[in-house]
């Protein structure tokens, strides 16, 4: 399958965030999208998932050549798009088990039934592999989870729901070194010819464990450079300034005006 963004312009509350995104991801490929803060990386993931906050001004999101711009969030999910979120929501009273079970049942065809035994085994194995502790199935969805647990739970959901395209949005933030290694290696195990991965990250460290096939650098709502591993190394050593200089990119004009540090102090 192919997930494709064509000349995509996206705004939120009147501000244009994505300014002409062109990107093609095939199942079996792993793409990393890197870039400084607030350049639209997460927006791309969210708009692909169909978050109602974002407005597509022009351009298209295509899944196997079919435009999905107007599909609802749940339809997209059932078509095979997944988003491991930066800030997973806590849902008290709903167990992890019931939640994933409901999500899986929703994917079943009319006369299909979820095979509970198989499901439980897979759930427990994934839970163990991600070091989530034994009671995970009966804990409420993300409630009282540490930042790292929430991230690992996202990966577990991905594994259970077997999407075709999965965005991992800063899955590395909030993870310590050991957890990062665990998550990274676990995601790498999920890699297959049927899964397209899009990793969104600031840093190189996640990519030590999940090797991307393509690396894209996003600045000011555009993918300004695409390459391979050598880009990661350079970013890790030199940051993003060189990209801006090389390509002659200037700071956004509509950045909020800053008063600098503690202006009141100097007034007193």
């Amino acid at each position: 399958m192919v997930l494709e963004f064509k000349d995509l312009f996206v705004s939120v509350e009147g501000n244009t965030i994505l300014k002409g995104i062109n990107l093609k991801v095939k199942t079996g490929e792993t793409h990393a999208i890197m870039g400084p803060n607030a350049t639209g990386k997460s927006t791309l993931a969210q708009v692909c998932m169909g978050h109602p906050k974002y407005n597509i001004e022009s351009g298209e999101i295509l899944l196997d050549g079919k435009v999905i711009n107007n599909k609802s969030v749940d339809e997209r999910a059932r078509m095979g798009i997944f988003l491991a979120m930066q800030n997973p929501i806590e849902v008290p009273g709903v167990t992890n088990f019931d939640f994933i079970k409901a999500a899986l049942q929703k994917r079943m065809k009319k006369d299909e039934h979820l095979r509970i035994g198989k499901f439980i085994l897979k759930f427990e194995a994934a839970s163990q592999a991600l070091d989530m502790g034994k009671g995970l199935a009966h804990r409420f969805l993300n409630q009282g989870f540490s930042g790292g647990e929430k991230k690992r739970n996202e990966i577990l959901q991905m594994e259970m729901l077997t999407p075709k395209f999965a965005f991992l949005d800063e899955i590395d933030s909030g993870l310590d070194v050991d957890a990062l290694k665990l998550v990274g290696e676990h995601v790498t195990k999920q890699k297959s010819a049927d899964l397209g991965l899009i990793l969104i990250t600031h840093y190189q460290r996640l990519l030590d464990y999940i090797e991307p096939d393509f690396v894209h650098i996003m600045i000011n709502g555009q993918i300004v450079k695409t390459g391979k591993n050598e880009l990661i190394t350079k970013i890790d050593q030199e940051g993003y300034e060189w990209v801006k200089t090389e390509l002659g990119i200037e700071e956004d004009e509509d950045k909020p005006y800053s008063l600098g540090n503690c202006p009141t102090k100097s007034l007193v």
């Binding site: 969030v73 999910a77 997973p88 929501i89």
Partner: protein
């Protein structure tokens, strides 16, 4: 969304069917001294009971409607039939219950539930119990489980000792009305040290339009005894309203434990104005598990008077207000004894323009040293048309008491929906899941069958709420 469907409450309220029945006897429409005398006469009551009824009627006329909550001025007391006798006697065998009435309870699944998981059942149709049975073991242990009218005849002294002691008829206008025209209800006495494992259940059904059901339930759990009591109620859909004004009096003796679970699911043409109160003695524990899904106007504040030292009160309550519903519910905890503890957990949900209030009172009296109370009330609003108020009153009259109060009001947010939908659930399913999770602390306390039922009810209400 794709799940949107036309919802017709009259069609989709599962219990909205009515049964064609002929009553054996009913009083003339409207309220009067003559009606009260007639009820007492039909029941062949002792004179003291008639006197109490007549006194209560006077009090009813004198008292005003509550000054808080929903407007009750619409209720026309002269447009109600106060007493309808559906059958000749209380039967012990379903085979002997009149066919149409039996059919009604069959549809409600009562005989089936009785066989599966209950120790005893009373079912009331209109004003009188029509069926009653308990398993033999209970009778052998000396447990009394009767409809309240039979209890008055068979155990007059015990009855008189407790009648109106927890809820005096001067307490409020509807307690007075109930005392004047009461009929039916359950009477339970659990002797010292007896622990009833499987629940006892009563089921109340209003069948007629513009009638009033005024059952009176009295429960006495003697020292070190345990009771688990479950109650359900439904009615058909009518355009004209009916009135349900029950009184429940519970006495929890030393070291005894009583749990009273109910999910009221009246149709929205029923105004439900109920007084429920318990008096708890030393080391006793009263638990109210109180679900409010149905009725148009609902005013209900289950209370615990924690009279003895170390007495304990727990109320877990939910209220769901949909279209044309006004739920004014809550809890009262009155700490009198030393070292008494209470806990209130309230979950309110409003959708489709419904209004839901939490109204609670926690009072720690002068002698209630070291009393501890916690109140946790959470509200969730599903749409912009729905409203909610939280109106707690917390009073501590000594220097050693402690009250913790927590309240939250939240809306189902876009981020929550986005998260759940991003895993493939539709908007309706996502909202349903959030609401089911929200009331989980209540649902987990219910008997399995009731929890399943509650689940379905909420789903039904939620399906309608999108659009």
């Amino acid at each position: 969304m794709s799940d949107k469907k036309d919802f017709d409450y009259n069609k989709d309220y599962k219990y909205g069917f009515k049964t064609e029945t002929k009553s054996i006897r009913e009083t003339k429409r409207g309220l009067s001294e003559a009606v009260v005398r007639e009820i007492s006469m039909i029941k062949e009551e002792p004179k003291w009971m008639l006197d109490v009824r007549l006194d209560a009627l006077k009090t009813f006329y004198e008292m005003k409607n509550p000054s808080w909550g929903p407007d009750l001025s619409e209720i026309d007391f002269n447009d109600i039939i106060y007493y309808i006798k559906p059958s000749n006697k209380v039967e012990k065998d379903w085979q002997d219950v009149p066919e149409e009435i039996k059919e009604t309870f069959n549809k409600l699944g009562i005989p089936e539930a009785e066989q599966k998981y209950l120790s005893g059942v009373t079912t009331q149709f209109e004003s009188e119990a029509v069926y009653h049975n308990t398993i033999k073991e209970l009778n052998d242990l000396g447990v009394i489980f009767l409809d309240t009218d039979s209890a008055l005849k068979e155990y007059p002294d015990l009855f008189k000792e407790y009648f109106t002691k927890a809820v005096p008829y001067k307490d409020n206008k509807y307690a007075a009305l109930n005392t004047a025209v009461w009929s039916g209800g359950s009477f339970i006495y659990v002797p010292k040290g007896v622990e009833i494992k499987k629940p006892l259940q009563s089921y109340f059904r209003i069948n007629s339009e513009r009638m009033g059901q005024f059952e009176r339930t009295m429960i006495i759990v003697d020292d070190e005894a345990t009771l688990n009591y479950v109650e359900g109620c439904t009615a058909p859909i009518y355009s004209n309203s009916s009135l349900h004004a029950a009184v429940v009096e519970i006495y929890v003796k030393k070291h005894a434990k009583c749990r009273y679970s109910t999910v009221q699911n009246w149709s929205t043409n029923i105004n439900n104005l109920v007084t429920k109160r318990s008096i708890v003695e030393d080391y006793g524990h009263m638990e109210w598990i109180d679900g409010n899904i149905g009725s148009g106007i609902n005013m209900k504040y289950p209370s615990c008077i924690l009279k003895g030292d170390y007495a304990k009160g727990t109320t877990i309550t939910i209220a769901f207000a949909g279209k044309n519903q006004y739920q004014d519910t809550g809890a009262k905890m009155i700490h009198i004894g030393k070292n008494t503890t209470s806990k209130v957990v309230s979950k309110s949900i409003a959708t489709r323009g419904g209004k839901v209030n939490y109204r609670g009172l926690v009072s720690q009296e002068g002698d209630a040293e070291n009393a501890k109370a916690t109140i946790e009330c959470d509200t969730i609003l599903i749409d912009r048309d729905s409203t909610s108020d939280t109106i707690p009153t917390n009073i501590v009259k000594n220097f050693k008491g402690q009250i913790e109060h927590e309240a939250t009001v939240s809306k189902v947010s876009d981020e929550e929906l986005f998260y759940l939908m991003s895993r493939g659930l539709s908007e309706v399913e996502a909202k349903e899941m959030i609401v089911m999770g929200f009331i989980e602390p209540f649902a987990r306390e219910l008997p399995m069958e009731y929890a399943v039922e509650l689940n379905q009810l909420i789903k039904l209400e939620m399906t309608d709420s999108i659009g």
